[in-house]
Amino acid sequence: MDPITFSIIRHRLFRIVDEAVITLKHVSGSAITNEGHDLMVSLYRADGSLLMGGVGFLHHLTSAAEACKATIRRFGDDINEGDVFLLNDPYTAALHTSDIYLVAPIHHGGELVAWSACFVHVYDIGATNPGGFCPDAPDIFTEGFSSPGIRLVSGGTVNRDVMDTMLNMVRSPEMVALDMSSMIACNNVARERMLALIEKYGHETVDEACRTLIGQSEELLRERLRELPDGSWQSRQYIDVKGEVFKVALTMTKRDDRLVFDFSGSSPQAPYAINCTRWASLGGLFAPLFPLLCFDITWNEGVVRPIEMIAPEGSIVNCTRPAPVSVATVGAIQSVNNAACAAIGKMLDASEKYASEATAVWHANHFAVFMFGRNQHGGEAIGILTETFAGSGGARNFADGIDVGGEIPNPISRMANVETLETIFPLRYLFRRRMTDSGGPGRYRGGAGMEIGLTPHDAPDGGLHYVVSGKGADFPMSEGLAGGYPGAPNSYIWVKNNEAEPDPRNTDAGFSRSVDDLPGEQERISWGVFPLMGDDVLYVRWNGGGGYGDPLDREPETVLEDCRTGAVSRETAETVYGVVIDESLSSFDPSATAARRKALAAARIPAEAAE
């Protein structure tokens, strides 16, 4: 088609998504949507296939396509102008019940020509635990309101009965109502702008541009795949729940212009809510694939076509109803994200042309801590600690991972200020800082994670409760690449210190600098609902990014700099990087370093292997 008109229409389609995202954030006004950017807006073709994916939480792009398709299957001819459908059943398309999809058909001249879809993580979904993550839910039935598709808006008018029924089942219905309004408004903007585009250029032309756009993305990805070497790469992710271990195993095989993700060998579905459904796994592998392989390609159906997924039925990555899945997004889906990122990183690293795109795994373990209780203003506070969006970057082929640089599947998140969080929750931060030695060692170091300490402050009920879930604290998950070590694992410690000190003013009690200084019994936790009362402290440390290459190849000057900036300890500099640094961190000893490095390399060769 005419490349000029195509260029203009493509640009506009991207802007339409952008404008819809702005609308979503404006109307919603919630912290998770605005700070965490835990949202997604995309445009879909009339048949529900992905047309233009926006920059949001990327594992939703393909499953919202499935939501559109499921709606078409369910409602057939009864899909009318101005309708909006709600869908959040993970066994139909969604990821977990609290990520609600609103999908809206776009009609032109009476004909269905496109869909818009969006999601936000709603304030509450009426599940067992506030906020939606339910570590101990035995099945989907206890994970709150769920619908495989219901008409929320008919011909532009909200169906009061439907909306009220849904709101009747959740905590803080006003907040959820706002989430729903934001998604309706977002779809409206997408529709208006899409129709304006069609008005200007005509349906035929826009349709041709859309077809071309999808065809082009497919051709571009296939061409890129052909440039990459043929081979197969394996990766593995562990999840630990209460001492039980679950695995997501991946063999990724690339031949010619096809890429197959085979999850055979993954654990059978778990009795815990870490499972994910098939559509969630597919979304989970695409979340890193879009930015790693398609950074210069429009994210749409064309990118989906060359990809195949094998996910054994009844496994943790393709669970069978009614297995619980509410923790999926920070459970098996994120494991799929990580496994795919690790395998794609290896494939890129095998290519001269694309090695500079290779990255170790970023922020592999969300620590979704949901706080709930009464706050210092007398109101109810339910909310995620947005630090969970502030993961750390994996090391790259040419540079270190970015300290607290975020994550790949949700590239543009941010965390809230301490001063914001101390206003919302009756909490006081003891510290929030980078964690020394948390980034995976390597020639390029993984980005550092952080550590925080929280204690109740001015809480009318003496404190709060919180839900902690995810993938546990036993395993590091941000795998390294080409020899780089994985980033350090998460750690959650409940420090029980209920014998309250007197007024902490003018004393250092209550102002401990580190977890080691905290008085009280320390219990490692990672799963369940816990109190944070009196002078209790919740300590959370989160994973660093994976490293890249051999740590003994890291420039000694750079390791010295790492020690000065607190990224690496002097001990680790010596024992892992082999760089011998004086106590004042003023210099390293070149000859001692050379000797140390030689010894460390030799120690990697067990006696029986040495020739």
Binding site: P229, Y238, A350, S569, R604, E611
Partner: protein, 89 residues
């Protein structure tokens, strides 16, 4: 003509080789890790205080048996197989 396998390995004359010293690690097209020098160290404390995970978790390090260059590493439970990467011909 050599062909890249990763930043630490390459394929030379049908064999997978250490990029640092050229030591061969078996034929191209087959898993190479059993030809490498493998050390398994506890993940706990592997690289500083924050490496605080489960007791049974290990860091497998695959090194060149000739020069000691670190070629690859992986997180594992001892009973789990190696992660195998293969480039097809």
């Amino acid at each position: 003509m050599s062909r890249r396998f990763s930043t630490t390995l390459e394929i030379e004359a049908g064999e997978i080789c250490c990029r640092k010293c050229g030591h061969a690690l078996g034929p191209a097209g087959a898993p190479w890790k059993r030809h490498a020098a493998m050390t398994e160290i506890p993940m706990r404390g592997a690289a500083g205080v924050p490496y605080s995970g489960g007791e049974r978790v290990v860091l497998r390090r695959f090194a060149c048996p000739a020069c000691g260059a670190l070629l690859d590493s992986e997180t594992a439970l001892p009973e789990d197989p190696f992660l195998d990467d293969v480039l097809f011909d």
